[in-house]
Symmetry: C2
């Protein structure tokens, strides 16, 4: 599918969703829209993802586009009015528009009317489906191996680990699939539920529903985690994913050098060993799952040698094989997880 990604003034460093789609989606990205970088190419910024021209606006895209993805999310999740001409132009060309904003495209009268007139779809991926219910406690019965990514904090690499593990599993011949639980993952995969928008009573159930669905078609699932089990604000979501997924094995994701909870500096991260104990003991009454591998985000470490040292120290601390999924091989981790 041919798509364009809107990332005005935030590409690439503040465009997590745009970069995720360029890196992991099987869509064909025909353009990134960022007025601050128009005329450049994605490859000038990110050599290791699919390349595309960067343009000023939708009207500068000559190729056909089937979908416009909003690849950025300002703090607060609002819709910026400066994006309106691009969304309008995309709809007039008959392209669907997909966003993960708090502001719902479907609630915008102009967009709703244009979508109807041009027979295209507005997808608000943050809006949960209406058929959710309480969990039955049956995710453990599915006919697939379920791996869950868990973390020491937000933004340590759970989504990246999920996608890299699925790619590495597929490269080794496994029929693997991601179970996306956040807006970037859902936009990359084209399905899933943004679980942090689901009400408490249905949170575990939403994850169970996704695991059950994906297990019908695949042999190995990697469930994208959210937050951390010790997060002052987001732990409810983390816990619901852990118990709703009823995983067979856990991957503990961490960022080298992270010492306090992101945005909550009064809260120190406990030692990584403590996380291993916490996740395993909390999972145990619902699903026996060990932290069988670890992933360390080493983006702040320049040399590969120093990064490998950090990974080795992390592996020793959590007593399991470890890697950095963007830097090193995943073979040993995958063997430990299956």
């Amino acid at each position: 599918m041919a798509v364009a990604i809107l990332a005005h003034e935030r590409f690439p460093d503040h465009a997590k969703t745009a970069v995720g789609i360029l890196r992991y989606s099987d869509r064909d990205v025909v353009a990134v829209i960022d007025r601050a970088h128009a005329g450049e190419r994605v490859a000038e910024h990110l050599p290791d993802v699919q390349d595309a021209p960067i343009v000023e606006g939708v009207d500068d895209i000559t190729a056909d586009i089937e979908e416009l993805l909003i690849g950025i999310a300002p703090i607060g999740g609002g819709f910026e009015e400066s994006w309106r001409p691009d969304v309008r132009a995309a709809l007039k060309r008959g392209a669907d528009v997909t966003a993960g904003l708090h502001y719902l495209l479907n609630d915008d009268e102009e967009f709703a009317a244009l979508a109807e007139a041009n027979d295209c779809t507005l997808r608000d991926v943050r809006d949960p489906p209406t058929d959710l219910s309480v969990a039955n406690g049956t995710a453990g019965d599915v006919d697939a191996t379920v791996i869950a990514t868990v973390g020491t904090d937000c933004s340590v690499g759970k989504m990246t680990t999920t996608m890299e593990l699925v790619d590495a599993l597929r490269a080794k011949g496994y029929d693997a699939a991601a179970v996306p639980t956040g807006q970037t993952g859902v936009m990359i995969e084209g399905w899933g539920i943004v679980v942090d928008r689901v009400i408490g009573d249905f949170l575990n159930g939403a994850v169970e529903q996704m695991v059950t669905k994906a297990a019908a078609d695949h042999d190995v699932l990697v469930v994208e985690g959210q937050g951390t089990i010790v997060h002052p604000a987001y732990s409810a979501v983390t816990c619901g994913i852990l118990h709703g997924a009823m995983p067979d094995a856990l991957v503990l994701c961490h960022e080298a050098g992270r010492e306090t909870i992101h945005g909550y500096s009064a809260f120190d991260l406990p030692p990584v060993e403590t996380y291993v104990d916490l996740y395993e003991s909390l999972a145990a009454p619902v699903a026996e799952a060990e932290v069988a591998a670890g992933m360390l985000n080493t983006r702040t470490i320049e040399s590969d040698a120093a990064a490998q040292e950090a990974v080795d120290a992390y592996a020793e601390a959590i007593d399991a094989p470890a890697s950095d999924p963007l830097r090193f091989d995943l073979t040993e981790s995958i063997e430990a997880l299956l």
Copy 2:
């Protein structure tokens, strides 16, 4: 405030909210409405709560009523059409109507019109407020002692423990208040948030907001817990309350003889000692809180002597003072909690 409680065909055994209001609310209950027991009195069924006549319908109540409370919740949380004449009659008499159903009174066109015409209010306590947001991680900074009730399962006595602890604290001269998190608690107290209806991202935040508000007016808070941290379906809610409240001490509630998760019999309850470890270790990175007391629901044990024996064994298992709040004294527990 003079109120009537609707509990058709379910009083008292399947009317948890009605019984909770009779037992704990400071409202003056002028009638219970149950067509199956019309002509009887509450005291014939429940000797230890406030007494009231049981009547066929609202039209049989001669006293003034300011509020009609729907004191029952059928499975699924629907509104039963056989209740409509009573709600209609109450609104026509100018009484507010309060319910904790999934079905929202405010969405019912007839009720909305009658409420407007008679200048009264429809309160749907399950509907969360619209001003919620993510937690700041600041509940631990409030100027009050925060006690949280946690449990080994649903329906073991967390709400009852919360109310009994507050009463016992007040009897000892403390300025204590409950922080209600479920529909019965919210209807008893007349404020609060039904947290299982709050989206994952705001769950911890909703509890923080309540604790912060209550701490401004009171010295000791007892936060009503929900579910259990090892519940296959509801653990997200439990975790959000624990971290959102950032308590100073925990009370572990359990029912004597409970062996599997209620309604999820494939899941054994872990030993009570395991719960102590789990709740304390999960709380620790956010708020240092020990299980300082335990409450054992001994309703299935006939003799006081056998119940006391069970309580003593429970106290030994959790290594903290214990009681049954409906049967025995709370002095020792309160001393341990403060």
